[in-house]
């Protein structure tokens, strides 16, 4: 498959395929660079060659934060150098009339979130992509040059047709129908038995509040101000921080991270500890849950060079 083929890595700026990522190196700034042909190929990501002409979206996501502050210039030229996969920045500089060879040019653009451009290729052929950026303070120019071909892929209809033929051939050869969905799935019977036999708690380690959690050096008393906890309402948590022998702790930094182990996302807000009065009472403001299910909350206490964490499991 075209989009799965690994390619050469470029020392001085190019797109390579490492560990399932399409990496681009603009100078020493790394990004994740992909192309899409949404009208013809939907969500399929391409790192290099594009199978068809037509609407193409190039997306650069920043792995190095520095890219968010750099105005990025992107140019696509027809490969007039004839060097194909061996084209480098020096070869681009040597082109006499760059504009004549240019099919797409995005002037330097500062995009703090991600960089995306769109171009409709009208002709198949070999092209060269050139990403450049000049650092606003140092004036140093960083570049990435990557060649790619457009429109030399196998048309999708052929791929589909080939797959259908293969499938039919497979069916004919093995003379089997696809397995029918079982009427009484074994898993369901077992699950039913399990639910009947095992305790029906919704999650392990379910916390009840207010709760007292201890670490090596500290004792935390935690009470959400919204009780019972429910989703979609912003609220605060009271946290009392004491040493193991009961002395309130002043001046600690308390931070909180949360997420759902079953899904890959965190809390819908960024809670902060906002109050440091004298009696070890801290207020964690901006707590909010936006989904039912199992949540894992990690509270970290930092004071006097000591950092300790408490992990809570909640189910809403």
């Amino acid at each position: 498959m075209l989009w799965a083929a690994p390619s050469l890595t470029w020392a001085h700026g190019g797109v390579s395929f490492e560990d399932d990522q399409c990496l681009i190196q603009v100078g020493f700034f790394r990004g994740h660079f992909t192309a899409f042909q949404p009208r013809s190929r939907g969500h399929t990501q391409f790192c290099e060659d594009l199978p068809e002409i037509g609407e193409t979206v190039f997306v650069l996501e920043y792995l190095h934060d520095g890219l968010a502050d750099l105005p990025l210039e992107f140019r696509i030229i027809r490969d007039v150098t004839g060097l194909g996969r061996f084209v480098r920045w020096d070869d681009v500089l040597a082109i006499e009339d760059l504009d004549a060879a240019t099919v797409f040019h995005q002037q330097p653009l500062l995009e703090p979130d991600a960089y995306a451009v769109i171009h409709t290729f009208k002709e198949a052929g070999d092209y060269v992509g050139i990403v450049t950026t000049r650092h606003p303070d140092t004036g140093i120019l960083y570049t990435a040059v990557f060649p790619f071909a457009v429109g030399e892929g196998v048309p999708i209809a052929w791929i589909v047709g080939a797959l259908v033929l293969l499938l039919l051939a497979g069916l004919v050869m093995t003379r089997r129908l696809l397995p029918a969905r079982p009427l009484v799935p074994v898993q369901m019977v077992l699950a039913g038995l399990a639910l009947w036999i095992l305790p029906t708690g919704e999650a392990r380690g379910q916390e009840t509040f207010p709760l007292v959690a201890t670490t090596d050096h500290f004792e935390l008393r935690i009470a959400p101000q919204l009780w019972p906890l429910r989703i979609n309402q912003i609220h605060a948590w009271d946290v009392y921080l004491l040493t193991r022998d009961g002395t309130p702790v002043q001046g600690a930094e308390i931070s909180l991270l949360g997420g759902m182990p079953a899904h890959d996302h965190g809390l819908p807000t960024s809670p902060l500890s906002t109050q440091r009065p004298a009696d070890g009472h801290y207020l964690l403001e901006g707590m909010k849950f936006h989904m039912n299910g199992s949540w894992e909350i990690t509270i970290t206490v930092r004071v006097d060079g000591v950092a300790e964490t408490v992990v809570l499991a909640l189910t809403l």
């Binding site: 995306a116 936006h290 039912n292």
Partner: protein, 409 residues
């Protein structure tokens, strides 16, 4: 061919497969299969499912919240002024566009287009305004944090109303009945219209519109009737409110469809931001969503902590707003209570029908920007159809008095 005698014929059949029996058994299996599937998918709800259903019914919706940043949020006179402003096409650069142009009351306060068309072409789909008062964030990208501040943006957007605040303030000052209504709520209309005064009047116009929008509430649907019947243990009423197909769809909604992750609560939305990998619209780059939206709301002069807000200290949502890579390509979860009106779906109307939407979540392909939170569902085709049937059962006429839905006299 001559028939053999009966005895010989029977003997010759003993080694062969008895086709009538096979067919009979297959048919029996099919019938049993359908019966069993029906029993399984219409089985009683578990305690956890009942609790979830209870949280989703309309009766669980608290009364329309007052906006602390808008001191006239609960004032009926403000709602009446806002009502007039909402329908007034003079609030536009060409005198032909009012809020109701894209937020049409008879269409669930949206316009049925993928991307709205007013003075120009908008790049986003017009969200429904029903129950909008419950969301801490407005717009698909949450770039406004109150109803009143949101109302101001389209008024000056060249693609929408294409006017400017000076023009609108002048209109209020010159129109006697507007001026009177304004002064009753906000005090004397400023004589000298410098920038600061213009901004203040402009903000107040938004506050009146916000007070009107606060009244736009959803009405009870057959789903709500079903849950009420369930809680009352009224089996007959349960059967009347949802068809078996819809109940099976509800099962998918709560279970395999994973829908309640984001479509939860009585409005079937958590009003939070999620990236679900929606493909870009033709001819445009993918929409970056909440990331730039958050930056905009933080810089907005009309936000919760700005000087036009009536409650600058109660801004937890803004102060603790989630930032970071999860917000790239993330959009606000819409409510599911109005789906027949709000087609086409998604932030630029990319998905035409509910079947397309369900297929989109079923596939859960890679996002073009950021990371798709959704995972493939592996729904059977009948599960998709059942889910769609259930979604239709959420539709209901809004709980809004007629006069608010019509152009004021």
């Amino acid at each position: 061919m001559k028939r053999r005698s009966g005895g010989n014929a029977r003997q010759s059949m003993q080694g062969a497969v008895s086709y009538p029996w096979v067919i009979f058994l297959l048919l029996l299996l099919v019938v049993v299969g359908f019966w069993w599937d029906r029993q399984y998918t219409l089985r009683p709800w578990s305690t956890a499912e009942r609790a979830l259903l209870e949280s989703m019914r309309l009766a669980a919706l608290p009364s329309s919240p007052l906006d602390p940043t808008n001191r006239v949020s609960g004032d009926l006179r403000a709602a009446e002024l806002g009502h007039r402003l909402f329908f007034d096409p003079r609030l536009s650069g060409n005198g032909q566009v009012s809020c109701a142009t894209c937020h049409q009351p008879q269409r669930g306060f949206t316009d049925g287009l993928p991307r709205s068309v007013a003075v120009g072409q908008s790049k986003r789909n017009a969200p429904s305004l029903i129950a909008v008062a419950y969301s801490p964030w407005l717009y698909w990208d949450g770039r406004k944090d109150s109803l009143w501040s949101q109302a101001l943006s389209p008024l000056e957007d060249p693609a929408e109303h294409a006017g400017n605040r000076v023009q609108y303030v002048d209109l209020i000052g010159a129109d006697l009945s507007y001026r009177k209504a304004y002064e009753e709520l906000f005090g004397p209309f400023p004589e000298l219209l410098q920038d600061a005064e213009v901004d203040k009047v402009f903000a107040n116009l938004g506050k009146a519109i916000g007070a009107y929008e606060r009244l736009l509430l959803p009405g009870p649907s057959r789903f709500d009737d079903y849950v009420d019947a369930l809680l009352a243990d009224d089996a007959e009423r349960q059967r009347r409110s949802l068809t078996p197909q819809e109940r099976k769809g509800l099962r998918v909604f709560l279970g395999k469809g994973n829908c309640t992750q984001c479509h939860n609560g009585p409005l079937l939305t958590n009003n939070a931001f999620h990236n679900t990998g929606v493909l870009s619209s033709p001819g445009v780059i993918p929409d970056k969503g909440r990331s730039p939206g958050l930056r905009q709301v933080r810089a907005d002069a009309f936000n919760c902590i700005g000087r036009f807000s009536d409650a600058q200290t109660e801004c937890a949502e803004l102060r603790f707003a989630k930032d970071g890579p999860e917000m790239l390509g993330a959009f606000r979860t819409p409510s599911l209570r109005n789906l027949q009106d709000t087609a086409p779906y998604m932030h630029a109307g990319q998905l035409e029908t509910l079947a397309d939407v369900i297929a989109h979540y079923d596939t859960a392909a890679d996002a073009m920007l950021g990371h798709n939170e959704a995972k493939p569902l592996n729904l059977w085709p009948w599960e998709r159809r059942r889910l769609e049937a259930f979604l239709h059962s959420l539709q209901a006429p809004p709980a809004i008095a007629d006069r608010w839905l019509q152009t004021p006299p």
